[in-house]
């Protein structure tokens, strides 16, 4: 914010302020993900006094750049549509109380539901790139989340189908960078492995079951 008051180039000439996305500044919105000194992370929690100077900022490389540090992350949102990352509800009449749920189950799901779709897991993934259509860890983990939900489970098979296609789960190369880059410490690799198990069962069921 101080910089925006008087933006200068390295040799002191006036320039236009850097364009970057941000909204909440507390790791809720996910919009300020960028590479800070080469590390993909949320800019809002990158505290300046704990960084090596001079700080080098770069936009995420896995998304098209809009301008400066602002990128267009819609590919990730398209993936979420593809895997139906929602709970199917009718909502036109009162459905009464929801299903009971074990607190332990809820607690685990909560970890998955913390995803802020920032895209850092895609940024560090060697399999997410211009040569492959891999969707990355975030949408896969969302499938793990919604397939756990008592109502969300109704779409479980469709979600697994979506994961089995090109660009889906099997594109994963198990480099496991995602779980380290996640600012919300979501157990992404556990979700991925869980989905591997689920698609294995699903695949056999489809092959021999019906």
């Amino acid at each position: 914010m101080e910089v925006a008051k008087d933006p200068k180039t390295r040799d002191g000439r006036r320039t236009s302020p850097v364009v970057y996305d941000r909204a909440c500044l507390e790791e809720v919105c996910g919009s300020c993900a960028m590479r800070v000194n080469g590390v993909a992370r949320m800019a809002c929690t990158a505290l300046i006094d704990s960084l090596a100077q001079p700080v080098k900022l770069e936009p995420l490389a896995k998304f098209p750049v809009v301008r400066d540090l602002s990128v267009d992350r819609s590919s990730m949102f398209e993936s979420l549509k593809r895997v139906k990352a929602w709970v199917p509800i009718d909502g036109t009449y009162d459905l009464g109380p929801g299903p009971r749920m074990a607190e332990s189950e809820r607690a685990y799901a909560y970890e998955l539901s913390k995803c802020i779709t920032c895209g850092n897991c895609l940024e560090v993934c060697p399999q997410v790139n211009d040569r492959s259509s891999f969707m990355g860890a975030a949408p896969i983990s969302q499938v793990a989340l919604f397939n756990r939900h008592p109502t969300g489970r109704m779409l479980a098979a469709e979600r697994l189908d979506a994961l089995m296609g090109e660009g889906g789960l099997d594109e994963c190369g198990n480099a496991q960078n995602c779980v380290r880059a996640c600012p919300k410490s979501i157990p992404l690799t556990t979700s991925i492995a869980e989905m591997f198990r689920a698609t294995t069962a699903h695949g056999f069921r489809k092959l021999f079951g019906s």
Partner: protein, 569 residues
Amino acid sequence: MGVMFNRTPEGLLDFRRFGGTKFHRTAFAGATTGQQLLYALDEQVRRFEVEGLVHKHEMWEFLGLVRDSDGNCRGIVALDCVSMRIEAFPAMSVMLATGGPGIVFGRSTNSVINTGTAASAAYQEGARYANGEFIQVHPTSIPASDKLRLMSESARGEGGRVWVPRARGDKRAPKSIPESERWYFLEEKYPAYGNLVPRDIATREIFQVCLMGYGVGGKREVYLDLTHIPRKELDIKLGGILEIYEKFVGEDPREVPMKVFPGMHYSMGGLWVDYAADPRHGTLDETSPRNQATNVPGLYAAGEVDYLYHGANRLGANSLVACLYAGKIGGPAMVRDGRDRGARLPPGDGAFAGAKKKWEMEFARLARLSGPENPHVIAEEMGDWMTDNVTVIRHDGKLAETDAKLQELAERWDRIGLSDRSSFANREISFVNQLRNMLVLARVMTRGAGRAPARGVPRRALQGARPREGGHGRKRASARRRELPQNDDRRAHRGWPADHLCGGEHVADSAAPAEVLRDRASQRLTGKLPPACPERSASTSAARTLRPPPLTGRSTSCPTDRARTSSRS
């Protein structure tokens, strides 16, 4: 809808207390309930998108209304923040769901996109803005130079205790201060509520304690202590917010008491919206097209941008419920209204071209601004003045000064020099436009705060307000009535802080909540107030999965919904 709320051992919904409540009555999802609700809604909108029912215009920003010759709102004009193209969108009805104006105060717990620009633009085009000065200052936020981060009330709901050292300027580490030398001032003064007094009281008490010099290390900070609660329980119930504290402060709140201070959090005021009572039993007529309608025909508002549900003081979790409820009744109202007013204006109508042209010319003018002033400096001054004078302590003289200052800033705005002149993804130019709107809104709040008698108690607010059928008239700052209200100078003669801080009758801050509640309850009984909608839906929402707000799919009403707003709970 997909939000997995915390559960009891039986697998049923668990409840927690919030400020101003004595009972465990609020369902919660960790300490980030609002965030979870937001995500669930986001997911549902995505579902509607796939089904072809909703079209999102992301990275578009609301500029103004399109009004036909009869004054009806027939659409909006918006700016594509990437290509900088300006477009008029025809609509049967328009709903503003653009959130609060926190950034008017510079630093707040709100997202930095919450500038109130859409509300201000609508106000300038004739929509009434009500109770602008009803600003909630959250008692516990994490102080920082870029923004304030909310330390949710759930921290106290789960047993967090607020204290300061009994000795002023005590330099010892908090853990080494023995129990007997700690001053749990909230528990001491309000034994019934303890640390969960309503927010305005907690805020004022913390403020006062700090002004008296008892703040931690003499600074404007008090301890919020969770260290007596087992680590595991904290992680389960409050994990999210404790992580945030840890990330920004670098101390583990499970081991070291947190340092917090009040911060601007929520605007109870907003665009005035209507509702209709069912004459048969006096309760809300849920089918009326008047619900959530502003005074501009065809324009609706819901969420923090409306003024309706919280009176002068919002209770924890109520804004989430108010959002959902306003959406629930506002959506059908829009559909009915659109139907009642007949077909929409054809896109070729001159009103659209006119509005579009107007804004294109305006932005061309903004792009040419080349004075010496910097918009960010003006914004900072505005924020500082507003935070100092229009939050917890409001002194008449200071309010007048603030008003003068805001006018000075508005003049300086004319001399702004744009540092970015590109015609692609130019955030600077849209910020300059927003800043002008913020300055207008800041004045609305400041002058509202100065109105006499001091508002906050609806009973007193009746005086001087225009009576309205079915309503409990609160005074509205209207575009057509801009004279400064006559100040009751009694207050000005009293020295502050003591008088203004101690919850005396003249405090222009949010009212003593007990009084508000009592007052509202009595009005409700006599049918002057609608039934306690927020409360009622609070219990409903707790009892089952939330329903989606009805979507018409025809309204273009989400300017910058690309970035999720910060949640509050």
